[in-house]
Amino acid sequence: MSNTASPPAESRPRTLVTGAVLGSITCVMFFAGLFAIYFSMRADANAWGSEWFPEGAIQLVPGGMNMATLSLSVITMAWAVRSVSNNDRIHTYLALGLTALLGIAVINQTVFYLNDIGLPIDYSKSSTLLFTIVGAHMTMIAIGVIWNLLLLLRAFGGQDTKRHQDLVSALSFYWYAGVAVYSIIWIGIYIAK
């Protein structure tokens, strides 16, 4: 039962990119929900003069390193988008590979940090929230890395040419959303504590 009304000839938003933007919005709203709870409870704890995290528990260096790594990955991801739109396959390989590598580095640093933090998950409401937020973000980055590696495989198969640039653009939106979420974690949790 197909509807054969006029063929789509008008310029419409690109399907893959639209889907990826909507998916990224869904992920961002998930984190927005967690952030809202975190900031609201922290504000209440501060207002009542209670301790939120024990002194020195949250260190700035690991979070800062992750932020720097993800900032670099924004550049490599933009490089991948640019390369694929220029039909430059070699640079696309390089850019996607580097982005995946930086993503893996972030996951590695996060796992190390969560093991090193010295706060058990059930220490307090704040530690439960911290583990949930950071763990969920690590999952988001892991999905991005897997997606990235799949694109890299397709690139080796010859499919990441200009004709397939939407695939890379779609991934880039998701990746940028992941970095945006992390920047809130970095400022709101690691810096502002």
């Binding site: 509807n3 009304a5 006029s6 399907t15 909507l22 919005i25 609201s40 059930d122 583990f131």
Partner: protein, 532 residues
């Protein structure tokens, strides 16, 4: 290098013929097949959840019968299961199913975008719904305050709930992408039919709010699976964290497509063009915006400033009344315009569309009263009344939509009279139950009525008089759901093959011809041109 992404048609047809029914069902990525799966599953859960509602009202009717549930904690668990299932396992899935079938046709797309993802979304939801129900039945429901449940089963229920949300979001993203990117030439956003428009709004709001519900659930899950749940994962606190999704204002977001269904049916039934189409677009958008309820989570209130007493919450609850009223006036105006075209027996879907908007207004009025702080109705049975009325609006609209578009979806005609009866039963039941619960709210009856509380208020004679009405109402809703399921089963099995366009529709889902889209009602344009 040659790639063969798509198999040749002949190969695909042959392999499809070799498949069994179950294989076809599981592997199908056709939007019609997926839509039917959503609708049928939603129907089954509808009967299940309305039956639960009926059982729960038996306890309110006769407090000794709480033993059906073995204890008060179980009673509370089934009470929360009823609310969760009627929204996330019945009404929303049936609306998604309708949209999956109708929206691509209405906007001139050949099919849904990302069909495999849409199929994956359905199966994730289906798996999640089963896990949710099994988790609840295994003593893993969200327990009553100060009572406990099975921790592992509660974790299972939370996983199920997360899968349900993921499945819904995935399918909705496919639908939204279809509407945004798959429209045919000439079909700009102002010209898309109102059902597709309200699906665009509702879908957007679902992907903005359901992830927040997922955030609540995952927080509870992480805490519950930690060495000892310290706060979020305490079994007696989980329902308090997620209950915002089933009350004012979020409840409106789930039934937003009611407006689109009514506005697609009534003008065609009255054989006139809907006036003020742009105004309806704006009003329905406003109604969607005021329904955004992810911010209204009383569990995380800052002491001294409860969110449900803030101006935004009260204002949006009050605004829902004039908005729904204006939307009803728009439909009545259309009916007035087409009064001479209406026969003595107007089509069942038209009657049900009007009833659904009446229920929506009733729900909005109860919601507005509930938000007025001096009445102190926030934790009273008015909450249940608003939910029943609003959700019933969604159910009646789905029945209207199935009687209207079902011939296009299933290809067979249904018994319109029986469909009308099912809608009227649900309307009558919701009004009876909703209005008695509203009055009982004023008389001090709590939203969750424990047995102790029932004994405490037994002196209140009026409460005791009104509770049976609520019970009868729930019974009627259950009966309506059963009749609806039977109507659709009989249609699928024995229904006569239907005409291609039984209603002389105005929008693209009713044609397979190439049509130029110059307004929101392209087929009416063609008919008018042919007439002149």
């Amino acid at each position: 290098m040659t790639t063969t992404d798509i198999a040749p048609d002949s190969v695909a047809v042959t392999s499809e013929q070799d498949q069994t029914y179950v294989e076809r069902l599981v592997t199908s990525t056709s939007n019609l097949s997926l839509g039917k799966s959503w609708i049928f599953s939603g129907c089954v859960y509808l009967v299940f959840s309305t039956f639960l509602g009926f059982l729960l009202d038996i306890v309110r009717f006769d407090s000794d019968s709480y033993l059906i549930f073995s204890n008060v904690d179980k009673f509370f668990q089934f009470w929360s299961l009823h609310r969760t299932s009627i929204v996330l396992l019945a009404v929303v899935p049936m609306i998604i199913g309708l949209a999956m079938c109708i929206v691509p046709l209405q906007i001139g797309a050949n099919s849904i975008v990302f069909p495999r993802a849409a199929a994956f979304g359905f199966w994730v939801w289906f798996l999640g719904s089963g896990i949710t129900v099994v988790g609840f039945l295994a003593d893993g429901g969200f327990g009553a305050p100060e009572l406990g449940s099975q921790r592992e089963a509660v974790a299972l229920t939370l996983v199920g709930l997360l899968l349900v949300i993921a499945g819904i979001c995935m399918s909705v993203i496919c639908l939204l992408t279809t509407i945004i990117s798959g429209r045919c030439t000439g079909m700009n956003l102002r010209r898309i039919p109102l059902f597709s428009w309200t699906m665009l709004l509702a879908g957007t709001l679902w992907i903005l709010t359901l992830p927040v519900l997922a955030a609540n659930s995952i927080l509870a899950y992480v805490d519950l699976k930690g060495r000892s749940a310290i706060y979020f994962g305490s079994e007696d606190l989980i329902w308090d964290q997620i209950s915002w999704a089933f009350t004012n204002p979020q409840i409106y977001v789930f039934v937003l497509p009611v407006i689109g269904i009514a506005y697609d049916i009534v003008p065609v039934a009255a054989k006139v063009r809907q006036r003020n189409h742009d105004l309806i677009l704006i009003l329905s958008s406003l109604f969607g915006i005021i329904g955004f309820g992810a911010y209204a989570q009383p569990f995380f209130d800052t002491p001294g400033t409860p969110v449900r007493e803030e101006a935004l919450y009260v204002l949006t609850a009050l605004l829902a009344v004039p908005l729904t009223f204006f939307l009803l006036v728009g439909l009545l105006d259309t009916l007035k315009l087409g009064a001479r075209n209406l026969t003595k027996h107007p089509p069942a879907p038209m009657i049900l569309s009007l009833l659904s908007l009446l229920l929506l207004i009733s729900g909005a009025i109860v919601g507005a009263l509930r938000a007025i702080e001096p009445f102190e109705l926030l934790s009273r049975s008015s909450t249940s009344a608003q939910m029943k009325l609003t959700i019933a609006a969604g159910l009646v609209a789905v029945i209207a939509a199935m009687l209207w578009w079902g011939e296009r979806i299933i290809g067979k005609s249904a018994k319109q009279g029986f469909g009308l009866i099912s809608g009227i039963l649900i309307t009558a039941g919701a009004l009876l139950s909703g209005l008695s619960d509203s009055v009982n709210g004023f008389l001090g009856l709590d939203d969750f009525t424990t047995v102790d509380f029932l004994q405490k208020v037994s002196a209140e004679q009026l409460v005791k008089i009104l509770i049976p009405f609520s019970f009868i109402g729930s019974m009627l809703i259950f009966a309506g759901a059963v009749v609806f399921l039977l109507v659709e089963l009989l249609r699928t099995k024995n229904g006569p093959v239907s005409e291609a366009d039984p209603w002389n529709g105005h929008t693209l889902e009713w044609t397979e011809e190439i049509v130029t889209v110059e307004s929101e009602r392209p087929l009416l344009d063609e008919a008018e041109k042919a007439g002149t």
